[in-house]
Symmetry: C2
């Protein structure tokens, strides 16, 4: 049967790509992806056929991959981070539908985990991952999740926190969380995690909106126990400190 590998490259650079991901792409006849990732892969696979596609055409990209696979090619569809988290994995299954192709997902390091490593250790306890993009989800459902996650003291990791079309959702998200948490709650903002232009801020719920937040940022809001020490954001594993120290 024809085979499609949907491969998460991890955050930004080749240095986060797993051997399993590399092997999957080495096995492929052709690699398809957004042009930034294809450019990164050119040095790794100089002789491999590759196709670049634009950022907005995810459905077309999956359809192209399917057509190539049905034509008998082993195809690798690449994305940054983990393709199974707000990525191409689900869409590829949806587009493949009942066609005779095998879709294999190869996991990668997702943005939440790479951003957390930059900040210190903010995700050591239960956390909720929420995308602020309402392109495919009602905004009410998104805000309701933020409310419930804030109310039950999850660490909250926001994907797609801001874009030109929705510059103020992050303000609203912050205001919802402020209903339940102290203005001094630590907040970490990582831009371009794992890339050469990576930068970050560790701030507070009160001050976070004065930091740069863009579409390449991941925002992590601490729970009630999260603290900052020596410039690192740390969520302790326990609530009761039974035997942790």
């Amino acid at each position: 049967m024809s085979k499609i590998y949907v491969v998460g490259m991890g955050p930004g650079l080749i240095e986060h790509m797993t051997p399993k991901a590399k092997q999957a792409l080495a096995d492929c006849d052709i690699i398809v992806g957004y042009k930034v990732y294809i450019d990164l892969l050119k040095d790794e696979y100089p002789d491999k056929e590759m196709r670049k596609s634009g950022m907005r055409s995810e459905i077309d990209r999956c359809k192209e991959v399917l057509a190539l696979a049905l034509d008998g090619k082993k195809v690798g569809l690449v994305s940054s981070g983990d393709s199974g988290v707000y990525g191409m994995a689900g869409l590829m299954y949806e587009i493949a539908g009942d066609q005779p192709v095998e879709v294999v997902i190869v996991p990668g390091v997702t943005a939440a985990n790479s951003a957390a490593a930059v900040l210190g250790a903010p995700l050591m306890h239960d956390y909720a991952t929420i995308s602020l993009s309402d392109l495919l989800t009602p905004l009410d459902a998104i805000y309701n999740r933020i409310d419930k996650a804030a109310d039950s003291d999850f660490v909250i990791c926001l994907y797609n926190p801001k874009s030109k079309g929705r510059p103020k959702y992050i303000d609203e998200a912050r205001d919802i969380i402020l209903k339940y948490r102290s203005p001094q709650t630590p907040v970490g903002i990582v831009r371009n995690a794992g890339r050469t232009n990576q930068s970050y801020d560790i701030t507070t719920l009160q001050d976070m909106l004065s930091c740069e937040i863009n579409m390449f940022a991941t925002v992590i809001i601490g729970n009630s126990k999260t603290y900052v020490k020596h410039g690192k954001m740390i969520t302790p594993r326990g609530y009761e400190n039974k035997g942790t120290m």
Copy 2:
């Protein structure tokens, strides 16, 4: 300043370990970790000094790592998955305290992402990660999070779902989720994700308790839109299907 690398090896095998993680360990004078991981690393770094420690002695392990670092050694502390998710990263910062050491976290592929890849694409939308271990967290707080996450239609990923000491928490978790979701909601259970003895079930909220769930399992419960097709568990990215197909 002395340096400690806290390195996530990804799920189980060397094939998921990133080049950055490998490079960090290559730079170290000594590698410390639970014996299973040290055994896996022996082939990769045959000449490296290594120290094994038992599973229950995480605090002692961090103290040992700190002592080695203060003695002038570059130390690598390894764990499976991502060390920043219920792992050693936060504990290492807590133990290091005000000592003159630099602690660097190297991210890895976490259990949620590797389990998701085995199952298909269940984490394509907002998800909440919850540990059922109440060793360091009040059980009420855990159940409250499950309730709130179920109520607001998060995909729910359960870590540490069961152990000898707490065989029934998973039953209670399921019953809470059943207050909000159909008995037919898809559930995926992955045991030993990424290891040679990996196995999984795709089942439903109604039937999940008849499947094997142990301390090496990750349990992913779908949201209201998750479906199973051709043996894969898929959460669509959108609620409204605006332009997804």
